[in-house]
Symmetry: C2
Subunit: 274 residues, 2 copies
Amino acid sequence: MHFTSEKRLDDGVLEREFTLGEVPGILWVPEAASASAPVPLILLGHPTLGLRTMYPRLVARARHSAAEGFAAATIELPGSGDRPSWPALDRARADLRRAMQAGEPVSDEMVDALILPLVDKAVPEWQDTLDAVMSRPEIGGPVGYSGGVMSIGIRLAVVEPRIVAAVLFAGSLVPRVMFEEARQVTVPLHVLLQWDDEGNDRQAALDLFDAFGSKEKSLHANMGGHTGVPQSAGDAAAHFFTRHLKREAGPLDRQQTELMPAAYRSSRTGADLT
Amino acid sequence: MHFTSEKRLDDGVLEREFTLGEVPGILWVPEAASASAPVPLILLGHPTLGLRTMYPRLVARARHSAAEGFAAATIELPGSGDRPSWPALDRARADLRRAMQAGEPVSDEMVDALILPLVDKAVPEWQDTLDAVMSRPEIGGPVGYSGGVMSIGIRLAVVEPRIVAAVLFAGSLVPRVMFEEARQVTVPLHVLLQWDDEGNDRQAALDLFDAFGSKEKSLHANMGGHTGVPQSAGDAAAHFFTRHLKREAGPLDRQQTELMPAAYRSSRTGADLT
């Protein structure tokens, strides 16, 4: 892991760009983190638009993760940004765009051609990144994965035991074969779905949620299209990671633990027909 | 509104039982509330099991509402608890229980016979309660409705303009005709669904969520059966009311407002095919 730049953000988050082999990435660590008080890590997934394009959204998510006491890391996806172009991936994406813009049906083959090679190449790179980042003394404990390409999140959740919780965004194209992998996912999941996502098959998203093998999984459907995720949904996702990545509960969490089960867990009853 | 008992709970919540005509109810008001600083009200819906049976859950929800700065009120449903028995309703419930226990299909007629008379009688009583409670100087501002019989929540949200936000629990039996009323609901909705609710038709619940006319509505599906609502779901419901019933945002809310939209609202993009 070779650091190529270092910058202290105004809210005391240390942002360092790095390269790991040919893969560029960014690591954000809150000031408070140290060898004596290592912080958990959240891997920030993102679509295949390139790190430079995604930077404003990624740094905002990293700052929020830092405010919650988490480090965050992301890497460039294969064939994206400054990485060598990947003609096969570009062709698959162009074919898919053409079909969608022409209003033609998107075939399973088209989805497989775009997503499956991307997952096969990207997931080991995320795992290498995890090896490198977790070897740093200021970072330790459980790992979360958030967002980005749904199928990469699914594969990572299945093959990477260090990931103990994941926030996934429904709506990206998911190959049929990934539904089988979804059944093998066992970590707690927080799934976001945009109910009116123009680029999304709602039923497929519901079927995928149903397929996940996790005992603890929740689906959070909000109104609006692809880019309309409300801030409250992001807030809930942050609470999800705080619940699953933090060893100790804060006062609010304790208050919830005392009050909410009595208040809500038992607020429905099997005897309740109405 | 005639108060029949008054008790100060250890966390400083004033609990008063009252009767409004023949209808018994309970009002919970946080100590902080006064004529100079009136607090918003949440109506606590509940199933038809009687206030005495429901009291432990209701007081827990009321304490949590008070901790968030809200008053809470509930009333006995017609034919329940100490109110005069309602033979027609008892018969309809018995028919429904018999069919369910025999594993027979529950007909629309059976559901209508139980729910529609209950809604027609209960909703005006909730509105009378609102008139009485809102006339008190220590209570003011917008009103929320939470839980209980889904169809009562739907009807109230349609006919009662003082209700500005509602938390509804999917899973109770909803007559077909209520789907039409659901289209007329426009207030922000936070809908809880137990994904594996044994007594619940999941597709019907999803269809009902889709039918609601509200521009702002979110569905929160959690694993587990009828009584398995996790504490995090109650927590999210509390945040929903705080967002919609509180005039000012607290520090946390401000932080979210600054960080979350950048972090999440724009974390997906129409150009994102993967």
